[in-house]
């Protein structure tokens, strides 16, 4: 019923949304990561290695990809505890590059030639299924104890500590959860493209993931969803511009940052889309 081309657009857009959410989660606690590509690589390589070398069933390999992303996210969270803003961005950027170079120099994972022969496993339903779970999670998170702790930490860390929030624990949890989501995204990606190489998860990937979320607006996870969906589907619809596509795309992002630096979905627009009562009800 869906053409292969449409399926491919949906899967890549879905994975972009998953990645944007992996950036949004720590960002909602004030922790900006420029290394989500690194977590995606870990998930992709872990899951691909397991299915190729050990014949591990896909669901298990997927879970392992998320697990490794989460554990490394936890590890990255520790140095991040003492860093803020731009410094944190630089350290996570360095982490992403480190992971890329690591896989570049690992013969077991194909090195620069990449890792091929991954069995096709990811379907559009896997991607949509994970998205549904994530949207459910984020919807409920925003009205929960941890969701409020994230927001408080982003607004004013010292005040949050004074009100009883263990900022160390909350930051580590946010980084680890972001790593899990990115790891799952990577595992899904690997089992759709069937070939991965380190360059697919470099700086470019990390920056695009960040751009999706910022373009959509950081006031809510819906911003990350909208930003990633629009920015990854738009180039497909703009094929008629042909040679001008990249320029058109660049201008759109630039205009957005000039006109709505707070992103597509800001607090005011969200309040209009979801009036208080409905929003409270939606939170469950």
């Amino acid at each position: 019923m869906l053409s292969d081309h449409t399926v491919s657009i949906l899967i890549f857009a879905g994975i972009d949304v998953i990645m944007a959410l992996s950036f949004y989660l720590p960002a909602s606690a004030g922790q900006l990561s420029a290394g989500q590509g690194g977590f995606m690589a870990l998930g992709a390589y872990t899951a691909a290695y397991l299915t190729v070398q050990h014949g591990t069933p896909f669901p298990l390999a997927l879970a392992a990809g998320g697990l490794v992303g989460g554990l490394v996210g936890l590890a990255v969270g520790f140095p991040a505890l003492r860093l803020r803003g731009l410094y944190l961005v630089l350290v996570t950027f360095g982490f992403g590059e480190m992971i890329r170079v690591l896989f570049l120099n690992a013969p077991a994972f194909g090195g620069p030639a990449g890792f091929a022969g991954i069995p096709p496993a990811t379907t559009v339903w896997h991607v949509l299924g994970l998205l549904v779970v994530l949207l459910y999670f984020f919807t409920r998170l925003s009205g929960s104890r941890m969701g409020r702790a994230f927001a408080a930490l982003r607004d004013d860390e010292a005040a949050a500590e004074a009100m009883g929030v263990n900022s160390t624990y909350v930051k580590l949890a946010a980084f680890a959860a972001g790593g899990v989501i990115a790891g799952l995204g990577g595992a899904l990606y690997a089992h759709y493209t069937l070939f991965i190489d380190p360059e697919a998860f470099g700086v470019g990937r990390s920056l695009f993931v960040m751009l999706y979320a910022v373009f959509g607006g950081l006031a809510s996870f819906w911003g990350a969803v909208a930003g990633a969906a629009i920015l990854s589907i738009l180039p497909e619809l703009l094929r008629w511009v042909k040679d001008w596509r990249e320029i058109f795309y660049g201008l759109l992002v630039l205009t957005m940052m000039l006109v709505r630096p707070q992103g597509l979905l800001d607090a005011a627009l969200l309040a209009r889309l979801f009036p208080r009562g409905e929003r409270a009800a939606a939170r469950g």
Partner: protein
């Protein structure tokens, strides 16, 4: 036994000694005011008691146990909470969410909690937290403002919300840092009633305040700081007549 016992507490920033060898006892159940000219070390003292800052030397015992090495959030769990002189509400959050955040250390729930429970129904713990937050908002007179953005509130109400947020953590000791700053006469009278009511409900209050009328009416004991040292302590009436205080504080105006 005093609720808070501070012993030889000192803190300096570079060469500037902000607090020097301070001893202070806060009896349980009362309202204890700390006054002194600007730069006397009052807010630094609050920062040391709540753990926002560490002292150079000194001990802080709360409810019988040493807390000087505990991080801020653990002191909050033990029952110490504060308001800020320069209002520090969570700007992206609603009034209700600010109070709910105050309940953080009295509630449970981790990162995976959103995934468990009945879909589209608020978890029971969350329902309970919201009831409690509603009661606290009612107590401070902000019942109708729950859904508004915290920073949209008028100044006086933001100060009340700071108190509500701190009360949500169920403190035994509440530290109020100039709660009447920027309030008009009417608002100050209402604040006085609120502080009295909170105290009657069993919360010991440590109060930094510049409005002497408020200090005189509310407090049982007044400690006067000047240049980081305690220069006088006693009941408000005696403090008002103390020549050292008049010279250092009242005389400076």
């Amino acid at each position: 036994m005093p609720l808070l016992a501070v012993d030889g507490l000192s803190r300096s920033f570079g060469k500037l000694v902000v607090l020097s060898q301070l001893d202070l006892l806060v009896e349980a159940g009362g309202i204890h005011a700390i006054i002194g000219p600007n730069g006397a070390g009052k807010t630094t003292f609050f920062n040391l008691v709540t753990g926002a800052l560490g002292p150079d030397v000194g001990h802080i015992r709360f409810d019988g146990s040493e807390i000087v090495d505990l991080p801020s959030y653990r002191r909050t769990a033990l029952g110490i909470c504060r308001t800020f002189q320069n209002i520090r509400l969570f700007g992206s959050m609603t009034v209700l969410d600010n109070v709910l955040l105050g309940l953080h250390c009295r509630t449970r729930g981790g990162l995976l909690t959103p995934l468990v429970g009945v879909p589209f129904r608020r978890p029971r713990a969350e329902v309970g937290a919201r009831e409690r937050a509603g009661e606290i908002l009612e107590l401070v007179g902000l019942a109708g403002t729950a859904a508004r953005s915290a920073v949209e509130l008028p100044y006086g109400q933001q100060r009340r919300l700071e108190i509500a947020r701190a009360l949500a953590s169920a403190p035994k000791l509440l530290l109020l840092d100039e709660p009447s700053a920027g309030m008009n006469t009417q608002e100050t009278i209402e604040l006085e009633a609120l502080i009295g009511e909170v105290n009657r409900r069993g919360v010991t209050i440590l109060l930094i305040e510049h409005k002497m009328s408020l200090v005189m009416k509310l407090s049982r004991v007044v400690t006067v700081l000047n240049f980081g040292q305690k220069i006088a302590e006693g009941p408000p009436a005696a403090i008002q007549r103390d020549p050292r205080v008049i010279e250092a504080y009242l005389g400076s105006e």
